[in-house]
């Protein structure tokens, strides 16, 4: 039993922390995150050079890491620096591509040469693949896609998109170059897109990739949860510092017991979030490990809202301003709950998988 990072992970974490700290202040981040292509190309190149993209894929698939723990180490640091680079979309695309022998494309992505995103979600679908409506049909040797994808993270500016669509055999994966995207910024910065497909021709990667998709999405959820833990830690530091400095009625805010007790409750939830990520990482790939992922996303969703709302409230007016970094951390923490299934979606998933387990 050892909860310390290995030397390698500590090195990865420190390197990333230093790189982001040196190159990535909040003003720069906010400027990039809300203007197309919603990230900074030179930062992306820098991350590729550092090997951070490669850390998301295993060595046998051409990367230098790829375990759930590698991914959580990377994303916790991204969260601590509130990085808007399209790492989540890249993670999702990389995982399904590497699962289906797309070694060359994987290599291009890892090197930063090209960028990809994964199109899974739809307006009526949040977390449950069986609710997918988009279809793929083969006609005269060409696969044609129909339907609408939404919430494609990191898609703006990407070179291609991997699309999930229903086939006769299950949920297939399709490769779409130079897709026509409806691009937008996310509420908390970073790029996202919708994709409307009308008999759109695409290359088929797999006819039934549900296992691969579920695994990629679960790793994405672990990534988001780890990112949340990093963001929470940074936000709590800001909040505690503020309470210690700011005076009201002649005394520091940190001397008001009602505020103290609320700050303590927040601290406990951060510890709990850190623990549930450890649990999801540790159980990933084990039987029932998807339950730990859903527990993590459920708890992080609840705690993220608490942290966001309480940190703003404890700051008072300053916490409401664009200029104050804390506000952007607070936004990120709430918006993470909207990505890859929220606290309610994952409660439903826990209920469904719990019932299954008891029947087994």
């Amino acid at each position: 039993m050892d909860f310390n990072l290995s030397e390698d992970h500590q090195l990865l974490s420190n390197t990333l922390n230093r790189f982001l700290g040196d190159n990535y202040d909040i003003e720069k981040r906010n400027e990039a995150g809300f203007t197309a292509p919603y990230h900074l190309q030179d930062m992306w190149n820098g991350l590729a050079e550092l090997g951070v993209i490669g850390a998301l894929v295993s060595e046998e698939k051409g990367g230098f890491g790829g375990s759930a723990e590698d991914i959580s180490v990377v994303f916790e640091e991204l969260g601590r620096s509130l990085c808007v680079e399209p790492m989540l979309g890249t993670l999702l695309a990389l995982r399904v591509l590497s699962d289906h022998g797309q070694d060359e494309r994987v290599e291009q992505i890892i090197s930063g040469e090209s960028r990809a995103a994964l199109a899974v979600y739809e307006p009526n679908m949040s977390c449950d693949l069986s609710a997918m409506e988009a279809t793929a049909v083969e006609q005269d040797g060409v696969w044609r896609l129909n339907g609408r994808k939404s919430a494609i993270y990191g898609a703006p500016g990407s070179d291609f998109v991997v699309v999930a669509a229903k086939t006769e055999s299950g949920t297939g994966l399709f490769f779409l170059e130079n897709p026509v995207l409806i691009c937008a910024a996310m509420v908390d910065g970073g790029g996202v897109a919708d994709l409307v497909m009308e008999n759109t021709a695409a290359e088929c990667l797999a006819l039934d990739a549900e296992t691969s998709l579920t695994s990629a999405l679960d790793l994405g959820r672990i990534a988001l949860c780890a990112e949340a833990v990093g963001a929470m830690s940074a936000l709590q530091d800001l909040t505690v510092d503020y309470l210690k400095q700011r005076k009201q009625f002649g005394t520091t805010l940190s001397s008001f017991q009602a505020l103290q007790h609320r700050a303590v409750n927040m601290q406990i939830e951060i510890e709990q979030c850190r623990s549930i990520v450890i649990s999801a990482v540790g159980q990933f790939g084990q039987p029932g490990g998807e339950r730990n992922v859903s527990m993590a996303k459920n708890l992080i969703g609840r705690a993220g809202r608490l942290m966001s709302e309480e940190s703003i409230q404890l700051h008072g007016g300053i916490g409401m301003t664009w200029e104050y970094p804390g506000a952007h951390f607070a936004k990120r923490l709430v918006m993470i709950d909207h990505q890859l299934g929220d606290q309610n979606d994952h409660a439903m998933r826990l209920i469904a998988t719990g019932a299954k387990q008891l029947v087994d």
Partner: protein, 394 residues
Amino acid sequence: MDLEFNETELAFRDEVRAFMRSELPEDISRKVISGNELTRDDYMRWQAILNAKGWLATTWEEEYGGPGWDAVQRHIFSEESALHGAPRMPPFGLAMMGPVLIKFGTEEQKSTLLPRILDGSDWWCQGFSEPGAGSDLASMKMRAERDGDEYVLNGQKTWTTLGQYANKIFCLVRTASEGKPQASISFLLVDLDTPGVEMRPIRLIDGGYEVNEVFFTDVRVPVENLVGNENEGWTIAKYLLTHERTNIAGVGFSIMDLERYKTLAQEIKRDGMQLSDHPIYAARAAAIEADLEALRITNLRILAETRDGSAGGVGSSMLKLKGTQVRQELQDLYRSAIGPRAATLSSGLSHNEMSVPYDAGQAAQVYFLHRKLSIFGGSNEIQRNIVAKEMFRD
């Protein structure tokens, strides 16, 4: 015990409803309901319509151009306004400056300034808060030094709401260098085009712009601009803070938000399940609806208690506390109901393109912006302190 309005009140409510239906411009109400920012012109159009009807300055006595309503009528008017998506008129001129002038102003001040508020010639903003002194007026620093027939102002105000639309500001300033705040603060009126005044926008969490900082550097103001006596500004500030605040619970807004949620839940699906059938959402909405119905009655109870006077401090603190909790819960429920798309800013995705009848990212922006409800206007912590002081009084 009788929950119902009496016949006169019901007739009045019907009159207000008819007025809202025929006179409220639809483009304005649409903006209000979807949480979009209003322009100065939007406010001014609605102000002119209300003023023509004589319903603008709801708290002023008839002799000054008010409608002569009692507290129940004012309540009905503000609830109906909210339910129909009418703009909430900024309180700084109509609900603050006006009553202060009526109570503390000279005849000269009343006769020149009150009509300018009604006809829109003056848009007032508020200069109370300072950096480092939000809820704590005692640590206010901005100074006004007497120099002949003028005051010379130096300092800074902040959180000045809609200051970008205003031409005048009322300020609390320190006119004595020593002594308790109760005996060293004055209430002073300043034209915003006076040399030395500079207004700078504060961008809020949602990226929008509704509050400002105001800097004063050697700004010279004639002594006639004093309201009340020098060093008696504390009395006026206290009057404003304890003065009846209509619609502090925001019940009308919350009812509108709940309706909006129910419509959404009928229209949106989550993982193939109609959201109105989703047990987690439905159970949460049911609990909020119970809280809101209780709040509606609590509001009426406090209104009935204070029908003839101004609302007690504790009553309005409780309404503010529960009212903001319910509204913020509803904003959270709505945002959360939208699902993955709530993370997407609307720019580039039109309503049609979204193929759902709501403005996805807008809901999240509105949710974040409305965290202000529990902070501005006396934070919820301050309100709890006020109630506690009364509860634990010996």
